[in-house]
Symmetry: C2
Subunit: 367 residues, 2 copies
């Protein structure tokens, strides 16, 4: 679809330049207009804009005056073209819907970026590799200074970024292939804590609903689940494990399956909060009580977890800090660091609430 150009400024190469127009149309003033109004050259205006030292104070005043009068706003497009640099970052995230986690992450990146004089463009990929690729290309074509991204899958191709020598940082998810600066949460440790806690509570048949195993988060959290079981002398019972899609519908379906078996689980570890919603729904459908019939621990600690009865135990992630650390790594690259790739690992913390503490015998009897 082609946009029809309203060609108010079109003119033949040989005719009078468009800067002939005066006064009106304030925001479209260019550096040439400013230079003319101040009676100086564009070079001088440019120097004032970037406050270079060697510019006379009275000239500077005149230029500033002209800038104000014309409402002049330098074109970042032209600047970016000339300097081959742009004080903007792109932050490519896989799904803004994924609750407070990405929101806090964004906030963390933004705070650091702003502090360092960068602005942030967000791009939402919906976990779609094609959109992810498109946004990477867009960011490069727009000449961003750097980018932070949460790769949608293990097969995400970073080569465009590498070829373009544009610095980037992976946040929340690592890629085994390319060694790049990465910030992750210690998913294994988080899952390990959660499952160990359930084991300590005496639960025997602990189920796990995890996300796609191609994602770091899905795979690592499952790994932590397995590690806790094995260390405690149990073995992983595949019939208690379901791989879903990190969404509500997936959690619902997985839990229904788990509960329909002949020997259903007495506890559940679910690796994100959306799937937790679905799973809790399924538990409710089945008329089971938490934690007496089945205990539950979730990954992600959404604000509503305390509203449930019983309140939901969960592994809280330092999302804001993931953002902050990602931004810091990116910043260090932009400031010239060109050494080996670094990985920052942050620890999640288990928050124990009612959904996972075993019910005392006396109460249990009442059931």
């Amino acid at each position: 679809m082609q946009v029809h150009q309203v060609s108010g400024t079109a003119h033949r190469p040989g005719t009078t330049p468009r800067t002939a127009r005066e006064g009106s149309d304030p925001s479209k003033a260019t550096i040439v207009d400013v230079a003319r109004a101040a009676g100086v050259s564009t070079a001088t205006v440019s120097r004032v804009l970037n406050d270079h030292p060697k510019v006379g104070s009275q000239l500077k005043a005149r230029v500033l005056q002209a800038i104000k009068e014309l409402g002049y706003r330098p074109s970042r497009v032209a600047r970016s073209l000339r300097t081959r640099r742009n004080r903007v970052w792109a932050l490519i995230i896989s799904d803004i819907r994924t609750g407070p986690f990405f929101a806090d992450l964004v906030r963390g990146v933004e705070d650091v970026a702003h502090g360092a004089g960068y602005s942030l463009f967000l791009c939402n990929t919906d976990e779609d590799p094609a959109k992810e690729r498109a946004y990477m290309e867009l960011a490069l074509a727009e000449n961003v200074g750097g980018l932070v991204l949460t790769p949608s899958s293990e097969r995400t191709d970073l080569s465009p970024l590498i070829n373009a020598r544009t610095p980037f940082v992976l946040a929340d998810r690592s890629l085994p292939t390319a060694h790049a600066d990465t910030v992750i949460v210690d998913n294994v440790a988080g899952a390990y804590q959660a499952v160990s806690h359930l084991l300590a509570g005496g639960f025997q048949r602990i189920a796990c609903i995890t996300g796609p195993l191609q994602t770091t988060t899905g795979e690592r959290r499952y790994a932590g689940y397995g590690k806790a079981l094995v260390e405690a002398g149990h073995e992983v019972d595949e019939s208690l494990v379901r791989v879903a899609d990190f969404r509500e519908a997936g959690g619902l379906q997985a839990m229904r399956q788990l509960l329909s078996g002949s020997d259903p689980p007495d506890a559940l570890f679910v690796t994100n909060h959306l799937m937790a919603i679905g799973a809790l729904q399924a538990i409710d459908e089945a008329g089971l009580a938490i934690p007496s019939d089945i205990a539950v621990v979730s990954f992600d600690d959404p604000p509503w977890s305390t509203l449930l009865r019983p309140p939901l135990s969960a592994v809280a992630q330092p999302a804001y800090d993931v953002g902050v650390e990602s931004a810091r790594l990116l910043l260090s690259r932009l400031e010239g660091y060109s050494g080996v790739a670094r990985t920052v690992t942050l620890s999640p913390t288990l928050v124990v609430r009612g959904s996972s503490v075993p019910v005392p015998r006396a109460t249990l009897g009442r059931r």
Copy 2:
């Protein structure tokens, strides 16, 4: 803080041009490199890129070949500078944290934008007028094709956008001052439905926790609350109304205050889901039962509302459609529509669940 430039490409004006380097550094190839490789002029390459009709098929093939070989990616910066147009929109939202509402809105805008060949940059203002202003300026300086924004307050100044003649649409919140294309949810109707429903249930002292009255949403939802009361022959009791900040903490505090009075409310209408979380927390602290002691209806219908006991009644907003309609309005401007400002109003729907249905006498007696 100044980034040190690694000046690999710097050269004196008189010396050999940088395009002398061959082969390596694939992604930094320019249109000149492609032209050279294909043995044509840059004009021809440009025509191939924008598939203009008048270009010989074999030349076209040679050019495409060269593009592929060099891994050439046209610079959107240069293109945007030259054409004074950019197929990118900015979507400035006030707070990504505000649950699924903005997330769905973003998705709606994005779907339409992509369909029309536009990409989307998101900007998050945290309801901060300064950040909002800065992002508006950034979007203009980056020469975006258009923007969708959710103004942070009534005093948001749109004049930069108007002066720059960059088309824009207001989403979710309208501004009384400037008449601009706007898409809003019928907040009055939503609140009216919710409160009428409570009145029909026989509740007498219906409290309201709303957001800042400078925001359309805060003010209109409060207006709907008042309208329902007045139409039913009641009058608005100011002591039952609290203005908070649309966040959890605000809801918590407001509800604590409401419950501490001598004659507490028997029902609550709360105008967004974050404040609902806080309010529910306060109700729980006070040891009150829902709905027998106090009934609750919330604006926004988050996915977890069915998990509560009793499940939470709520006014569901067509967030995705707000996004879609906003994008459509913007698109029509970009396609040349230059008529009067339009306002699209979408209706929310009340979802009645257990938190607001009066308890039968028999059960009530048991309390």
